[in-house]
């Protein structure tokens, strides 16, 4: 497969150019008078309606990595991969409880990042710093994985792989990276919001065609499920255990139901703590937009369920299985190989473009979210408290480049299994922000030092537990689950439980000791507020004369 298919390649290049154009044109879309404000660059003017928000959040949450990794997990281990489906179902009923409150209070106080809220609520710079640090740490490998997703597609296309030189091999990835970096720098959040339309059109097309067409070539769904069931029941000679499970079992072998459930619940709790999800949320213009999106985003999960089934299709296709074996058993290549074998080359081009563009959208939003965290909660908080909004925007732009460079380093230099495990670890990490953020939206009961200690304990436990998880093929970072009290449980779930228990105990002690509480700048009514106008910039300088046009 080292030769490049000209038709596929041409279509991918053309669609990539189209998206590049859209990315740059986005700078002019809904243009504000004063672009040099973080509300504009970092949150697209905080004016997106329900329709745009649906695409933006959809493009944000369902990443290229999802299209590659979820079917890869299903291909490799079976039913446990469907935890992703279960989690994208339960995330919305969970999130509808607290996300509208975060939107309201952030709107009133002009908070741009989740750490801004934590700073305002608890009056604690340290706690805000811990949230910002965790956010950036967890986003880095996540962005890297988007680039890994692009690499998987490029590998199957045969682009660059024939060359021995690392530089030439990674050149297409560098080009994609540079384009991504430049249009994010120029257009901010408007670029991914607009590109998300193109991405979703391509992805929906790809999935619908694949779901109806591929089974007809593989002998129907009955055959696909049959092959998968037989495969996962057979014994893997390397581990002396079954390859995986076809449905979650209560037995101690393979994936258990508890593992499935805690993985799904933990991931669901983590999803909207990720800074990029919050960026997408805060960019919408009304509280009702958020609520309605929580009801309509599950429709995206239907897509994810179908994408997960691609993993079984790949098992049922002998050519794909053989190709993956030839590529060193890299199951990340399951979907690209399946498409390449099943589709005519022109449609393969469309499908591959969908995956590549599907990587650019979330990577852009993630780098913006990480950059905002750095600017607001590290740079402005600790180095330049009097930073003007224009300076903030400039710093954020550069920070987004640095973040992406870091991610590129991850993607190119580190072994891919390492990046994937870091992403699993990212979920464990970001979950440790959950108590301070979500509890803070409802109550000021928790003490800031108790929350900080709980966070630290959760971070340390999660990291150590993930490091120590071993498998027959890897001595460290092998899995995101480990065994607690005789059950296989998601590490993030255990870690956040430890986090909360410590925070509760310490809060009781610190309250009894009458330790002073930080100042809370929020008011109860602000958590249900629904201001129609974007907030007035906090530190209004000379450059804000223009902003007054938006103030009532």
């Amino acid at each position: 497969m080292s030769h490049v298919n000209a038709v596929t390649f041409t279509i991918v290049v053309v669609l990539f150019l189209v998206v590049t154009g859209v990315g740059f044109a986005a700078a002019r879309w809904r243009r504000a008078e004063d672009m040099l404000h973080l509300n504009e660059w970092g949150l697209g003017g905080r004016g997106f309606g329900g329709f745009v928000t649906w695409f933006l959040l959809g493009g944000d949450l369902y990443t290229a990595y999802t299209f590659i990794a979820v079917p890869a997990l299903v291909f490799g281990s079976g039913a446990i991969g469907f935890y992703a489906v279960s989690y994208t179902i339960m995330v919305f009923p969970i999130v509808i409880i607290f996300l509208p409150r975060l939107w309201s209070v952030s709107r009133v106080h002009n908070y741009i990042t989740p750490a801004d809220f934590i700073r305002g609520r608890y009056g604690s710079r340290g706690l805000a710093l811990s949230a910002a640090f965790t956010g950036i740490l967890a986003l880095m490998p996540y962005i890297a994985l988007q680039l890994v997703g692009i690499q998987a597609v490029l590998t199957v296309m045969g682009v660059g792989t024939s060359s021995g030189s690392t530089f030439v091999k990674d050149l297409p990835l560098f080009i994609a990276f540079v384009v991504l970096a430049v249009f994010t720098y120029v257009s901010g959040l408007r670029a991914p919001a607009l590109i998300a339309f193109v991405k979703d059109t391509l992805v929906y097309l790809m999935v619908i065609v694949a779901v109806f067409y591929i089974p007809t070539r593989l002998g129907g769904w009955g055959h696909i499920f049959g092959v998968a069931q037989t495969h996962f029941a057979s014994i893997n000679p390397a581990t002396k255990k079954p390859y995986g499970t076809f449905i979650p079992t209560s037995k101690a072998i393979g994936s258990t139901r508890l593992d499935f459930a805690t993985l799904a619940l933990g991931s669901a709790l983590a999803l909207f703590i990720y800074p990029h999800s919050i960026t997408g949320t805060l960019a919408s213009k009304r509280r009702s937009v958020i609520k309605r999106n929580m009801a309509f985003l599950p429709l995206y999960s239907v897509l994810l369920a179908l994408i997960a089934l691609f993993g079984y299709m790949a098992i049922a296709d002998k050519t794909t299985v053989a190709n993956i074996k030839k590529a060193g058993g890299n199951s990340q290549l399951a979907v690209p190989y399946l498409f390449q074998h099943m589709f005519p080359s022109w449609f393969t081009g469309i499908a591959f473009s969908g995956i590549i563009i599907g990587a650019l959208v979330p990577a852009a939003i993630m780098s913006i979210a990480a950059a905002n965290l750095f600017t607001r909660n590290i740079f402005r908080e600790f180095f330049k408290p009097d930073a003007s909004p224009a300076l903030e925007t400039r710093v954020s732009r550069w920070a987004s480049l640095v973040v992406k460079l870091g991610a590129l380093y991850f993607a190119v230099e580190l072994p891919h299994t390492f990046a994937i495990n870091l992403q699993l670890l990212g979920g464990v990490w970001i979950l440790q922000v959950f108590p301070m953020l979500v509890a803070g939206l409802f109550s000021r009961w928790f003490d800031r030092w108790a929350l900080l200690t709980g966070w630290l304990a959760g971070m340390v436990f999660g990291t150590v537990a993930a490091y120590n998880s071993a498998s027959p093929t890897a001595s460290h970072w092998a899995s995101s689950s480990d065994i607690e009290l005789g059950h296989t449980v998601y590490i993030g779930f255990t870690a956040v439980l430890i986090n909360v228990i410590i925070a509760v105990i310490l809060t009781v002690i610190l309250r009894a000791a009458k330790v002073p509480q930080g100042a809370d700048e929020t008011l109860p009514s602000q958590y249900t507020a629904d201001p129609a106008d974007a907030p007035v910039p906090a530190n209004a300088g000379v450059s804000f004369g223009t902003a007054s046009g938006r103030v009532p």
């Binding site: 309606g49 279960s86 339960m90 009133v108 069931q229 459930a261 009801a295 507020a529 629904d530």
Partner: protein, 114 residues
Amino acid sequence: MSQPPDRSRDRSADRPGSSGQAEARWAPIAAHPVTSAVIAVLIIASIFFSLYVPIYSRITPKIGDFPFFYFYLLVYMPAVSVALLIVIALQKRLRPPAGAGPAGAGPDVSEVTE
């Protein structure tokens, strides 16, 4: 703080830590106990029926060629969508019709035109 909070309405509700805070938060729920209960049940049920795996981790009955586990997950998503739409509609009832939020009094035009 960027925007002066609207102090014209119930002041006791805006003072953190006062008993008015708790009253203000629970007042709409106390006024509509049935609606609130339905909302709670819908949300808890939506979470429970995907969280409690033993309900659906079965191969049979097969629906068409789909084992029950996979069919259930596929069908569950539109069901959650509908449940959440009902929740949103019910939540509107919990609120006094006009001038409830600090955004200002009167019906909100953008809410309708969206």
